[in-house]
């Protein structure tokens, strides 16, 4: 009997990124839920606890992804969800981000600049799910 597919929640306000990520991840056998902002994501997170989240930063507000990551880490039910943050915030602000050095200000497992190519996305997803 095969294992249930892992569920990944993709949160991004760019519909093209969402569509492309969904295509890549579903083709690789993952179940994908999507949200275009933190509010929608929180509605989904009320119903399910995904195995992984792919999270943008700059959505309806410029720090929305950070704020959502703080809420997730502060919620006992959700706090263990691995988060892959994927954003162009560095390119747009000139600031660099690194979960290893930014500590609790960036409570995600990995931070990767956009655009991310499909093999890299899948490799990161697999690595984070394995480490779960």
């Amino acid at each position: 009997m095969s294992e249930d597919p892992k569920t990944i929640l993709v949160v991004d306000d760019d519909p093209d990124i969402v569509a492309a990520s969904k295509l890549v991840l579903t083709t690789a056998g993952y179940q994908v839920e999507t949200a275009s902002d933190a509010e929608q994501a929180l509605v989904i997170l009320e119903k399910i606890v995904p195995d992984l989240m792919i999270l943008d930063v700059m959505m309806s507000s410029v720090d929305e992804g950070f704020q959502l990551s703080y809420r997730i880490r502060g919620d006992e039910r959700l706090s263990a969800i691995p988060i892959l943050m994927c954003s162009s915030v560095s390119e747009q602000t000139g600031f660099s981000f690194n979960p290893e050095t930014d500590g609790n200000w960036l409570p995600v497992n990995e931070f990767v600049p956009k655009p991310i190519d499909p093999p890299d996305l899948l490799a990161r997803v697999q690595r984070l799910l394995k480490a779960e």
Binding site: V62, Q67, Y70, G94, W105
Partner: protein, 255 residues
Amino acid sequence: MGVEKASDVTSVEPVLATVSEREELAGGHCRLAIALKDALKYKPGQYVQIASADASQALPIAGWNNDFTRIEVVVPTGQSKDSALLNVAEGDRIEVRGPLGRHLPLSAMQGQEIIVLAASDGIVSARSLVQYILANRGQYGSVHIIYGTEHPKDILFQKELNEWKSAPKVTVKVIVERPADGWMGYVGVPTQLLPSLGVNSANSYAYLSAPNGVYKFMLLSAGAIHLPDQRIWLMNDKRDNEGAWVVMNAAEYRL
């Protein structure tokens, strides 16, 4: 609206002074109250260079009062490389040079709501601004103070924070990253609490004071509540030629 310039003040003649009080604070810090022989007219955001018999150190001015013959600084004493004044004691004679560096745009801030977003040691220079506003209460709008530390045991000026909470038109929110048993307050980082302030960004100024690496998060979150760069000031972690801190506008910081 262009970038507002704070004035430069570079009085460099040293003033003779005596350490009138030394108080051990939380998190490996001590507060020194310094009695000056001659008045030293400073404003929030400025710093002083302090020289004892065997050490010299630049430190932000940590308080404000309108008797300019007394200043306060906070010296990191625990496991710090910046602890040149570690052994200064009450009664020691020292020299104080200053005030140095720029000060905050206090005139432009008049009539405005003031947001103070401080992390870790950043509360030290923020205390100067808060004390200044409290001493000139009628000239400023509401003050919203958000202060974050890693552990509850690192919180500086705990008693004073409680006093500020009961001051008119002042709110204080303290948040810690790693709560201890019994901690009933906020958990996380200070920027989490910014959206809850509900401030009118067109009528507000923010002062950010934090260690290296944190300003990028603070600037993004200040932008998220629609504060323009011209209304955001910070204690720059890029040191000036004196090896000390300089307040600057967010637009300058981004250059």
